[in-house]
């Protein structure tokens, strides 16, 4: 028998340990929690849930639940919003096999988290029994291949906020169609204002306008994804904004809600903003804006498409590492459908549009002082929330698609049209899907 020295033993052991450590470092997100057996509800024991969200003062909302449910206590941890750091934090936590029970995830980002096996299929924990409480369009946006991957928490039906005094200067009213919008924009330029921004650094408003015009960029089918970013609806929208930028009708130097936007809006350099319902809280941040803003339905694409669209909106999702998915689901449903939860979220956190089918929030049934005494929730956003494209589906590389698009939009200054940028982006997106091994095909016309 060969003599094994202590040192040999030690070094072999260390080597084996580091190999094991390396083995544990497999590419993150390759194990599916939804293939594991379902976790039964905790009975009798005390449960502590952690919820990562970027809403402000959210603990106050959770405390209402905590007071009533001594056995299921929810702790809120604040994270930066979405892609400004929150998702990065969640992805790293998921990659490390850790993370909270619940997390705020935007509707559009649900498929991205599914791709890394980061979300629990809530239908396995009885989410179907709550489906009737929610706006069916939103419920559709979180349902994929028979599973449900997040509880809608708020959404963003779109409309236009405008400064009546600036429109009056050129004798205009809030534009009813996009053609009106373009001609009003030309008049406003003569008066030294822009009608709005076109964000070359963020493609999500463009996608929202395309969805309004009737586009459905992605469709999940049995045999893979079907992509169609170059349909007539999208191309019309691209051509429209190409012309608007060429005619200098829109501002492209800065994006909505950037410091430069707030400065321009306060000084009358920006007359309107077509944005989501949650934009009200941001517009209220324009200094000296009280009483100077109103809301109107967003412009429509002639006789085609829909009356409104959606921008943003988020869900309460249960992350793969959760030990108590059923309790997490029950909290999420209370949060987003009980009058108490919705009112508290509006009061403390200023959330977007309520996802509940029949309750918009008590305070949203009253007129707003900032918006010139207008009851814009009832008059503008309730109708808008019923006129959205129900077919739109989010896809697993939404953020990357938007970045590819905005990279193309940035070249507009150098002469590349938005139309060309969208067509090129479609090809790039197909390549990205295939690089990930996903099946995708172009819609046959």
């Amino acid at each position: 028998m060969p003599h094994v020295s202590r040192r040999r033993l030690l070094s072999t052991g260390l080597g084996a340990m580091s190999l094991a450590a390396l083995g544990a470092c497999a590419t993150p997100g390759t194990h599916s929690v939804n293939a594991d057996p379902a976790i039964p509800a905790a009975s009798g024991q005390k449960v502590r849930l952690t919820y990562w969200a970027w809403l402000k003062d959210f603990q106050k909302v959770a405390d209402l639940w905590n007071a009533k449910n001594p056995d299921v206590q929810v702790d809120i941890v604040w994270i930066p919003g979405g892609n400004s750091g929150g998702y990065q934090k969640m992805y790293s936590a998921l990659a490390a096999g850790a993370g909270p029970d619940l997390a705020q995830i935007e509707l559009r980002s649900i498929p991205e988290f599914m791709l890394v096996n980061g979300l629990v299929d809530l239908n396995r924990y009885g989410a179907e029994e709550f489906a009737h409480l929610y706006d069916p369009t939103l419920w559709g946006q979180v349902s994929f291949t028979g599973g449900l991957y997040g509880i809608p928490q708020d959404s963003g039906p779109m409309a236009t906020f405008y400064q009546p005094a600036l429109l009056d200067k050129v004798g205009a009213t809030p534009p009813k169609t996009w053609d009106d919008w373009a001609s009003t924009g030309k008049e406003l330029r003569k008066a030294g204002s822009y009608i709005d921004c076109f964000a070359i650094s963020d493609a999500s408003p463009f996608a929202a306008f395309a969805a309004q015009a009737g586009a459905t960029w992605f469709r999940p089918e049995e045999d893979g994804w079907v992509i169609n970013m170059t349909d007539d609806a999208t191309m019309n929208v691209a051509r429209f904004f190409d012309k608007a930028i060429d005619d200098d009708v829109v501002q492209t130097d800065f994006a909505h809600y950037s410091p430069a936007w707030f400065a321009a809006a306060a000084k009358g350099g920006i007359a309107t903003i077509t944005t989501a319902s949650w934009g009200d809280a941001l517009v209220e941040g324009v200094s000296g804006g009280k009483g100077k803003w109103k809301a109107a339905p967003m412009p429509v694409w002639g006789n085609t498409g829909f009356g409104s669209s959606y921008l943003g909106g988020s869900t309460t999702a249960v992350l793969a590492g959760s030990k108590h998915p059923r309790e997490a689901l029950e909290f999420a449903v209370w949060l987003t459908t009980s009058h108490e939860g919705i009112d508290a979220m509006i009061k403390n956190s200023g959330i977007g549009w309520s996802p509940a089918k029949d309750f918009v929030g008590t305070s949203r049934q009253q007129p707003s002082e900032f918006f010139s005494g207008q009851n814009y929730f009832k008059d503008v956003f309730v109708p808008a929330s019923r006129e959205q494209n129900p077919k739109w589906s989010w896809w697993p590389i939404t953020q990357q698609t938007f970045n590819i698009l905005s990279d193309g939009f940035r070249k507009k200054a150098g002469g590349t049209s938005l139309v060309d940028a969208v067509a090129a982006a479609e090809q790039d997106v197909i390549t990205v899907f295939r690089n990930k091994g996903l099946t995708i095909r172009k819609e046959q016309a």
Binding site: T30, P220, I397, Q399, K436
Partner: protein
Amino acid sequence: MSSTPAAAPPATSQEDREIRTGRSRQAGTSRGNRSRAAARAPWILLAPFLALFTLTFVLPIIVALISSFTKVTRSGLFGEKGVSSGFAGFDNYAQALGDANFIASIGRVLLFGIVQVPVMIVLCTILALLLESASARWPGFFRAAYFMPYGVPGVIATILWSFLYVPGLSPFIDIAGSMGITLDFLGPDHVLWSIANIVTWSYTGYNMLIIVAQLKAIPGELYEAARVDGASPWRIARSIQLPLITPALVLTTVFSIIGTLQLFAEAQVLKTSAPAIDSQYTPNLSAYSTAFAYNDYNVAAAQAVLIALAAFILSFVFLRLTNRKSS
């Protein structure tokens, strides 16, 4: 007051001789044990360092290398029909190098480095020479003042500067505008130089301090001799100070080259104000987006390896060039 070699103790002292003879006496019996213990001692002393170094430095690099050669393939709409990972060869590298935006980001920081690094090095050298000249007033105060921006974190520095860059907020833009000049700090052609300005502001004082330290190490006799020979301050700077601070200049330049390739925080923060900055503006931002916004850890690992290689090659080439010149 310096000690001459003559004053040093003799090379072989009584103690030395005793130790030597002692060692030779014992050699026959316990030489093996002794030398093995002696060989083991440095490893035992190094172990705490090596353990941490391996765990936090070597291992992550190895994991990144392995990750960069791995490919994850999903089937179905989201990978619900199975996920497999396997050896990818150089696929991830090909994908990284085939990404026009990633290549553009490398070109961008190279251009940035070619302009910003020399400007900063010249600036910090001038500041150091001025502060160390005989006629400098309050050198301690100014040294601290120039160094202060380094104490401001890059993120905060960028937020501070962005208030001077954003139209509608910036007094510079307002003043220039009233004189009929349109300034655009955040446009696609200018934003890189606006970032260069922030970086220069942050790091000039730090590099200056390294050079000042080296200037202080120059023996006083050299200055005395030069002055006796009637050299002007300009001649002293050129013939004595500059040649003697070359090592510090090389060091600061290499650090700056590496720092340029790692440019991240400034671009990331300025992104909110400048639409021209995309998600792959610098190589590090590109790797960050690929890993944490697109969840493509494997391609991100390949990008990170490429950035490290580029930093290594650039530093190596620069050191080679300066060594050749000095020898």
